[in-house]
Amino acid sequence: MIALLLRDLRLAIRAGGGFGLGLAFFLLVAVLVPLGVGPEPATLAKIAPGILWVGALLACLLSLDRIFALDFEDGSLDLLATAPMPLEGAVAVKSLAHWAVTGLPLTLASPVLALLLNLPPQGYLWLVASLALGTPALSVIGAFGAALTVGLKRGGLLLSLLVLPLYVPTLIFGAEVVKRGAAGLEVGAPLLLLAGITLAVTALLPFASAAAIRVNLR
């Protein structure tokens, strides 16, 4: 499993493209929104939590189809499916690798972008905490969508259509944590719910994803 993780990380970093693309997209969203809505600090501070979460979510969406597509094309997915390691485990590891190259950098970069969007100072900690807790869920759910569409020639748009409604609860709770944190309110409930979603999807969704991959490899 560790070998698979290292292989995926190496591929993601050395093959280029996918790794930096998400971050660049996140940056673009954070730059474009003030240009679009105007530079009033009060307005920006109000919408910053939502924009940062939506930006992170869309940046995550960009690289989803790469989770399985390359391995499907060159046949390594067939080998993974027949390997002694359960396919569910392989799916979980691949989601983890996807998170390490998209969700983790996004989380680390988010304070800088929050500065651009004038997030109130007490919100920074909760922004990082909510992204660190929530982006793994985005990767795991995304892996499910990628597993459903892996056999399709042009699955990119369909993948977004399938995955976006599944992202709704994560987005709502994640943005809620930052919003409450920025306003100096109690954040316990949405934070726990966000953690609950991440844990539940990590425990359960790999089974659905593995089932979908098996169907697609048939």
Binding site: F144, L148, T149, G151, L152, G155, L158, L161, L162, L164, P165, L166, V168, P169, I172, F173, E176, P190, L193, I197, L205, A208, A211, A212, V215, N216, R218
Partner: protein, 242 residues
């Protein structure tokens, strides 16, 4: 004699052919009675005026939009567990109907909301979760359209339906996190002493019955079409082989 005998497509076709005229007649009778009674023979509400009559379309459509997804959930489970093709085709047939009911509920709600709330749309928990339900229907239908192999498509859409059900439910409670919005609470429930006033209640019940019958008619009709389409495919394939 068990219910699984209807999983045989031929058996399903003969039975549904026998049932279909009766259900369609029931649909026409119920909808005609309910809507005419509701639209012309009930008084205007003292606060809402005649806009109250949208209830006869809005409530049944919303009810059936959710129930259609429930039916797809059950038929998807049956397909995954027992692999009866009729079941998968029924789920496929129900999805566009459910989407239509969702749209009807959203549009009638907007038409009612404009004079009553002063807005076509509000990000109220109920409205939002219905919009998300519509997105789930869209994704489900798009996945069916995108995959060429029928069995693969049936498998993948069934998995999507199961996972989607959980997330649709989760979204329903997630949006509750915002303040209770504009939408009123449930106006119909079995365990309440009084629901809406009787004068509106009885035509509404007939309309709901009519929408259930309408859904049944459309699902049977569309499932029969799907089965026939599948047969044509099989015949064409056989021709090519020969």
């Amino acid at each position: 004699m068990s219910i699984w005998e209807y999983a045989n497509p031929k058996r399903f076709m003969t039975t549904s052919a026998a049932i279909l005229p009766w259900v369609s007649a029931l649909t026409v009778i119920c909808l005609a009675t309910g809507l005419i009674w509701g639209f012309f023979f009930t008084p205007d509400d003292y606060k809402q005026g005649s806009t109250v009559k949208i209830i006869y379309l809005h409530v049944p459509a919303a009810l059936m939009a959710i129930n259609a997804w429930m039916m797809m959930l059950v038929t998807s489970l049956i397909w995954l567990i027992r692999r009866h093709h009729v079941s998968a085709l029924a789920a496929k047939a129900a999805a566009p109907i459910g989407l239509t009911f969702t749209l009807v509920a959203l549009v009638t709600g907007a038409v009612w909301g404009q004079p009553m709330w002063g807005t076509w749309w509000a990000w109220d928990p109920r409205l939002t979760s219905f919009l998300i339900l519509g997105l789930f229907y869209l994704g489900y239908i798009a996945l069916w359209q995108a995959i060429d192999t029928p069995d693969t498509a049936a498998d993948l859409t069934s998995v999507l339906c199961l996972v989607g059900s959980v997330f649709a439910l989760l979204s329903r409670y997630a949006v509750n996190f915002w303040n209770q919005g504009l939408h009123q609470g449930a106006s119909l429930s079995l365990d309440k002493e009084e629901n809406v006033s009787d004068v509106f209640y009885f035509p509404l019940l007939i309309c709901i019955a009519g929408f259930v019958a309408l859904f049944l008619t459309l699902v049977l009709l569309r499932t029969r079409t799907e089965i026939r389409a599948r047969r044509v495919q099989a015949l064409l394939a056989r021709d090519r082989m020969a």
